[in-house]
Symmetry: C2
Subunit: 166 residues, 2 copies
DNA sequence: ATCGATATAGTCAAAATTGACTAATCAGAA
DNA sequence: TTCTGATTAGTCAATTTTGACTATATCGAT
């Protein structure tokens, strides 16, 4: 759901059409996410179906029509929910593309802090688990060591973020 | 291609059938990759089509037949190529699931070292680029800072790995 | 004014991925 | 022994994702 979070978050700032959204993401968030154009349109259509956003077709001359999207009241509620979920959950497979960070400033620092505390707990647990993997399991020692390092970096980062907020 | 690299690498060690492969990956490499069962079978079929592996159907009583896979000579060549590509390339979107590490010990330390040197160069370049992003670009400062940290961790890790090998 | 190159805006068929399923076997409890 | 739940082995339809495409507009050079 973090792609939906991103699209909602951007549209909440400014109404945009599909191409514009995709361009923005491609220019400013490459390091964060790789969202292909057709996927963006696909997600937008799905979100429109669910009533999270509405489309306004604008015809200009002979051009292909542009569909500008606006976040609905329901979409706003979904954004709020997704943002909180994203911040509180520890997604084990990604230290990159932490979309929630982009919209952290839309929350009260105290609430943001509480959500990150939940995440930190899960992160700590995983780090302990990884450190507890016996040497002669089927998994590669290098892979485990590598992961432990990034988990530690993530933990340090969260610690600092939490401190900044509190 | 790193899923193919993984499957080839595992099959190169021991012949296995699809379910076995999936189980092994799921038990020992969760932190590394999330390969769903149907995707595993899909990839195996594709690899068999390309002649990288061969299937041997074994019927046992009334069971659904098991297809045991073996790496062909061509598959072995592809494995060697994919491993080298994987080690030398800096994949910007993942600090997790570095499959190449699992099979690093199949190379001569000196060659492994050379490949990782290429990767380190690309990594350094990205870190510089990320650090050079102006504060008032469209991207979130937190996201950039977050990425820079993990890139630095990755760089330190590579430095150490390279030293260990040289 | 016109030609080519690039930017804008979106679509589509083909390929890949997934959740949910079938179906047989096995291990232990009643 | 027979029932139940877990394990083994793989498949399938529906959903998602992608590369390649259409088509107009715009901008700079000739």
């Amino acid at each position: 759901m973090e792609r939906e979070l991103l699209l909602l978050g951007l549209l909440r700032r400014t109404d945009m059409h599909g191409y514009q959204l995709h361009e923005f993401i491609n220019q400013n968030m490459v390091s964060c996410i790789d969202l292909k154009k057709p996927t963006a349109y696909f997600l937008l259509e799905k979100m429109a179906d669910k009533g999270w956003i509405t489309q306004t077709e604008t015809h200009e001359g002979n051009r292909p029509p542009r569909r500008v999207y606006q976040v609905t009241a329901e979409g706003e509620r979904v954004f709020q929910r997704l943002l909180r979920e994203n911040l509180a959950e520890h997604h084990p497979a990604r230290f990159t593309g932490d979309i929630g960070l982009t919209f952290l400033d839309t929350l009260l620092p105290s609430e943001a802090r509480d959500l990150l505390l939940v995440r930190r707990a899960a992160l700590r647990e995983e780090l302990e688990n990884v450190r507890a993997i016996p040497v002669h399991s089927g998994s590669s020692q290098l892979v485990i060591e590598h992961r432990a390092r990034h988990l530690q970096t993530e933990l340090d980062w969260l610690d600092e973020l939490i401190e900044r907020l509190g």
